[in-house]
Symmetry: C2
Subunit: 431 residues, 2 copies
C-alpha cells in the first residue's frame, strides 16, 4: 500500500454520535417511544432509499424537492434518500390494504435533506413521527396533539406553544383577499417564513411571487387583525375549517391539555404542499431554534397512490432540535456511566483469573470491562478514570496466593481487598 | 392535481418493517445490546453518507467496491452510502485522538449494498458490530468471540461453529505454495466461496486468476490435509500466526467457551482486503444461509487515515440473517401485543367520557388505544380483534347514567361492568 493518507472527515452537515451523546439520545428516544406506545401506537420502519416518483410525485414537497439526495438506483432508475416519513407512510398504506384502520403508527429514523447546514439544521437528522391513518374526526388531531403535549411535558419543558391553524381557513383567506388559487402554495411558503423575515418580509415575498398589492394588503390585514376564531368568523364566510378547529379545541379540553399551551395562529401556514386541513407547530421562546415539531392533516396524499382517498393526520418531532433545546434549557437527564467495573491486567501470566472474575461479574449482570492489553497498571487506572468507571479490580500474584482481589474505588482513591468468592456479592451492592 | 396514480413500491431488495416485525427486531436488538453493554462496550453511530475516498480508498473493499451506492454530494463531491462499520470506525478513530484506548464500541445501524437480492441477502440490512481498537493482545480477539458466543447462546442457538483462521497463516500458505503476493487477495476471495462452489470451484477460480497449476495443487493439498494447527505446524515454517491462534484458543478456554463451538479452519479466508491477523466466521448447519457473523483483526486500516497504525479487531453480526435463522429454528421470542385496551367511541356525544377514561388508563401506565372515529361499535370490536387488543371498554348513555363502563373480554367474549372510578384498579390487575 502506498503511504498517501486519506483525509478522515465526515460529509458536511452530518455527524458522528459518540457514546456519551448516544446514551443521551437513547434515553430521550426511550421516553418518546414509551409515550407513543402508551397511546397504542406501534413502530414501523421504511427503507432509506425510495424511487423518485414515490418521493417527489405530484410536487408534494413543493420548493423543498431540490433538497432531496437524488441518484440512480442499481438499474439506472431514479431514486433518492428518504426526505420525511409522511410520504413513505402513504406508500406503505397503499401497498398494504390488509392493515386494520385506523392505523396508528410511529417511526423514528434518520432523514436526509441537502439544506444549508446552520444552528439546529443538519443534512442527516432523526425525526419522530406519529400518525393516525383512516380517521376523519378531529379526535385524531386531538390525540396527536395530546401525545405531543405529553412528550414536551414529560421531557420537562415549562414553556411551549402548540400553534394551530387550518389550511381550509388559509384557503378562504386567500380567496377572500382576491389571491388566485395557483398562488396558494407560494403564499403559504412566504407566510411560513414570517417568524424569521417579519411581516414586511412576507409582503415582499408575496409581491415577488406576483400577488397584487391590494390582495396582499388585504391578506396581511386579515392575518394581523383576526387573532381568534371568533374575530375571524365575523369577517370571512369560511365555515368548515373554523368548525373543525372549534371541535379540536373542545377535544383538547377533554384530553385535559392546559389551555395556555396551545393557541390559534392565523399566521401558521407550514411549507409543504400536502396538508389539507388542520396544521400545527410547536415552538419554544428559548432557545431561538425554530419549531421543535410540526404536522397536520393530509387527506389527499395516500390517494396519489390509490384509486381512493384515505384521511390521515400526524406530527413530526424534530429530534435534533429537541436535543439542542433540552441541553440549552438544562433539561437533559443525567446519565451515569453504564460500565461499573474495570478488571485490570496485572501481567500476561495473570490473565486467567482476570478473565474468570470478569466473566463472573458479567454473568451476575454487572457491566464489566476487562483491560484488553498488557500495559502498566498506572495506565489502566488512568483509563478507568477517563472513562469514569467507578471501580478497578486488580489480581496479581499476591492476590492469587490469598484468593483475594484488590479493589480500587476510583472516586475516593481507597483500596480494599475482597475474597474472590465474595466478589459478585460485593458488586451486587455497588450496583 | 391530475388523476394519474403513482405506483406504490419499495426499491428492489429493500423492505418496509411492519409493527409485528419491528417488535421482534427490537426484542432481539435489545438482547444483543444488553450483552454488548455488560461487556463494557458503548454505542456510536456514524452518518449514512461518507465521502468516496473515505469509503473506498486503498482498495479496501476489493471486488466488493462495485456494490457501493455511489453518488455526488451537494457540491458535486463523490460520496456513497455506508457499506460497513469498520471503515467509518477507522475514520472516527482518526478524527478523535482524545478517545481513551482501548476503545470498545458497538454500532447497530443499516448498511447498503447493491448486491443481487436473494435468500438472506438484501440491499438494505442492519448489522451489529462490536470492536476493540488499540489492543494488540489476543485477549481482544478472545473477548470479541466471547461476546459473539454469548449472543448466540442467549438467543437459543444449540448448534453453531465459530470458524477461526489467521491471515498470517494464509499468507504463509500462499508463499509456501509458490503463489506470488499480488495474487493473495484473489486467492482469499476464491477460498471464501468454497462452501458454495466446492474445492473444484475454488481450483477453477484460482486458475482463472492466473495461479499456476503446481501452486494451486500444493495450496489445496495443504488446506485439505492440515486440519489442525499441529498438522499445519509440521509442514509450514510459519510461527507468528499459529502462535497467535494458540494464545487465542487458551484465552477462549479462560472465557469458558465450550470447545465444541469453535474450531480452526484453514479454509476460512474472508472476502475483504483489510484483515491482517486472526479472522472468524460463525456458521450454522441449519438453515442454509451462509455465515451469520464474521470479522477479524485489521491493524492497518486506521493507519490509512493517520501517520501511525492503531491495532483493531471486531466482528459483525448479520442481523437480517440472524432473524431468518431464529425464525426458521423456532427461536423467536413470543411477543404479546403491547396495547392492552381499546376505548371504543359510542357516539359523538359520548367522546368526552371515552377520552377521560383513556387518559386515566394511560396515566396509570397501561397502553391504551382510543378509537379515532365515530363508526358502528361492531366495526370497533372487529378492529380490536384484528389487532389482538384483549379488552374493549364502551361508555354510552346507560353507562354514564350509572357511572360504570362496560368491558368486553375479546378472548372469552364475556362482558362485565366496572365502576368508572375503579377502572384503573381493574386495569392494573389485567396488566
Amino acid at each position: 500500500m502506498d503511504k498517501e493518507k486519506i483525509e478522515p472527515q465526515t460529509v458536511k452537515g452530518m455527524h458522528d454520535r459518540m457514546p456519551e451523546e448516544m446514551k443521551r439520545r437513547e434515553k430521550i428516544i426511550s421516553i418518546i417511544k414509551e409515550i407513543f406506545e402508551r397511546y397504542g401506537f406501534l413502530p414501523i420502519e421504511t427503507p432509506a432509499i425510495e424511487y423518485w416518483d414515490v418521493l417527489s410525485g405530484k410536487n408534494r414537497y413543493g420548493d423543498e424537492e431540490k433538497l432531496i439526495y437524488r441518484f440512480k438506483d442499481r438499474k439506472g432508475r431514479d431514486a433518492g434518500l428518504r426526505f420525511d416519513f409522511t410520504v413513505p407512510l402513504s406508500r406503505v398504506i397503499a401497498m398494504h390494504p390488509e392493515i386494520p384502520m385506523p392505523f396508528k403508527r410511529y417511526q423514528i429514523q434518520p432523514v436526509w435533506r441537502g439544506d444549508a447546514p446552520q444552528y439546529g439544521r443538519f443534512r442527516e437528522f432523526y425525526q419522530c413521527d406519529v400518525d393516525i391513518v383512516g380517521a376523519q374526526s378531529m379526535l385524531a388531531e386531538a390525540e396527536i396533539l395530546s401525545i405531543t403535549y405529553e412528550v414536551f411535558r414529560t421531557l420537562g419543558f415549562k414553556e411551549f406553544n402548540i400553534k394551530i391553524n387550518n389550511r381550509k381557513i388559509l384557503q378562504s383567506l386567500c380567496e377572500y383577499s382576491g389571491i388566485s388559487p395557483e398562488l396558494e402554495f407560494a403564499v403559504y411558503r412566504a407566510m411560513d417564513k414570517q417568524e424569521r423575515i417579519g411581516v414586511d418580509g412576507v409582503a415582499e415575498k408575496l409581491e415577488f411571487n406576483g400577488v397584487p398589492q391590494d390582495a396582499r394588503e388585504k391578506l396581511i390585514d386579515l392575518l394581523e387583525n383576526c387573532k381568534t376564531l371568533k374575530e375571524l368568523e365575523r369577517v370571512i364566510p369560511e365555515k368548515e375549517g373554523i368548525q373543525e378547529l372549534k371541535n379540536l379545541f373542545d377535544y383538547l379540553k377533554d384530553f385535559n391539555i392546559n389551555r395556555k399551551f396551545f393557541s390559534f395562529d392565523p399566521w401558521l401556514a407550514r411549507g409543504l404542499n400536502y396538508y389539507t386541513g388542520p396544521i400545527f407547530e410547536v415552538v419554544v421562546s428559548r432557545p431561538k431554534i425554530g419549531s421543535l415539531a410540526g404536522g397536520g392533516r393530509f387527506d389527499d396524499l395516500i390517494g396519489t397512490f390509490l384509486e381512493k382517498s384515505i384521511p390521515a393526520v400526524g406530527i413530526t418531532i424534530g429530534f435534533e432540535r429537541m436535543m439542542i433545546a433540552l441541553k440549552e434549557l438544562n433539561l437533559m437527564p443525567k446519565d451515569k456511566p453504564s460500565t461499573r467495573i474495570l478488571v485490570a491486567q496485572f501481567d500476561e501470566s495473570h490473565s486467567s483469573p482476570a478473565i474468570v472474575i470478569a466473566k463472573e461479574l458479567r454473568d451476575s449482570g454487572i457491566a464489566t470491562e476487562i483491560y484488553s492489553d498488557f500495559v502498566k497498571l498506572s495506565k489502566q487506572f488512568k483509563y478507568a478514570d477517563k472513562k469514569k468507571i467507578p471501580y478497578v479490580i486488580v489480581v496479581g500474584p499476591d492476590e492469587v496466593r490469598v484468593q483475594k482481589a484488590t479493589i480500587k474505588n476510583m472516586r475516593t482513591g481507597k483500596q480494599r481487598e475482597v475474597k474472590m468468592n465474595k466478589l459478585t456479592a460485593w458488586a451486587g451492592k455497588i450496583k
